[in-house]
């Protein structure tokens, strides 16, 4: 094998290995970012559920879930880790859109009530999370909590 052929072979090998290395690195960075976003969303929906379950101010508000207060609470928690993502704060009792209807780069935040259970949800596809086969690389996090009831 002459020198030129060896140099060409080394270049091809280098390109393959570097390409694979960068793909792995990108995957790891992307997964880390997704984990941070997911953790923030879990914390956010839990905080939102606690706010919603706590009742509203004013007369007869003790047994009325504060759905309107839950949505901005979630948004405050998730916004710092979702740069570039459009965060849709849906007005209660509007439910989040189906996952397929939410474009890439957007997340919905919604709070709903069914009987005595409050549901706060973050759903969508934030920026920075390319799909990986076999993994649900989207956000669909929910917190359900029983509303606080105040006996007379």
């Amino acid at each position: 094998m002459d020198g030129e052929t060896q140099r060409g072979q080394a270049t091809v090998e280098f390109a393959l290995v570097v390409g694979l290395f960068l793909a792995c690195l990108l995957g790891a960075v992307s997964a880390s970012l997704y984990t941070v976003q997911r953790s923030a969303a879990v914390t956010g929906v839990a905080a939102g559920a606690r706010v919603a379950a706590g009742g509203t101010p004013g007369a007869a508000g003790a047994n009325t879930p504060d759905l309107a207060g839950a949505v901005p609470t979630v948004a405050r928690v998730v916004a710092p880790v979702m740069a570039g993502t459009r965060i849709n704060q849906l007005v209660p009792p509007r439910d989040c859109r189906p996952q397929r209807a939410i474009p890439h780069g957007e997340v919905d935040i919604c709070a709903t009530r069914a009987a005595d259970v409050v549901t706060v949800r973050v759903r969508g596809r934030p920026v920075g999370s390319p799909p990986v086969p076999g993994l649900d690389w989207t956000l669909d996090l929910v917190a359900e909590v029983h509303t606080v009831t105040f006996a007379p």
Binding site: A46, R50, V117, D136, D140, V142, A143, E144, H146
Partner: protein
């Protein structure tokens, strides 16, 4: 007939690549597995914490504590394909002025994900959370 003399290092690059690529992929999958393990713990902790908070909202002495906690816990955990809710214990009944400590367990199963290649068996994770009722609550 001429005989080609191969250099000793002609197959070395192939061998190096054959070792390096699976190793890199293994590291990546392992990294993802650790991330999911941590994330699953966060999700279980959150659900158990909310369950404990829901349990202390029931009237004192009522079996509704466990009902509220169970509904909250399973409702929060139900949507994860890799995390199967297990049991939730200790959530009541709430007694006036007392705290409630809930203990939840779940099964983490990687087999529906690419990490199943590395961890091909389910395993159990646990969490506990304590909630106190408002000290201004009368009953």
């Amino acid at each position: 007939m001429t005989r080609t003399h191969r250099r000793p290092d002609s197959g070395q690059a192939l061998l190096e690549t054959a070792i390096t690529i699976p190793l890199m992929l293994l590291f990546l999958v392992g990294f993802l597995a650790v991330l999911i393990r941590v994330e699953a713990q966060v999700e279980l902790d959150t659900a158990t914490s909310l369950a404990a908070a829901a349990a202390v909202t029931a009237p004192a002495g009522s079996p509704l504590s466990a009902t509220y906690a169970g509904a909250t816990w399973s409702g929060t955990l139900r949507q994860y394909s890799y995390l199967r809710p297990g049991t939730l214990d200790g959530c009541g009944p709430y007694q006036a002025g007392a705290a409630i400590t809930c203990r939840g367990s779940a099964t983490l199963d990687y087999r529906q994900t690419p990490m199943g290649l590395l961890v091909p068996f389910p395993f159990r994770i646990e969490s506990s959370a304590t909630a106190h009722s408002s000290r201004y609550r009368s009953r």
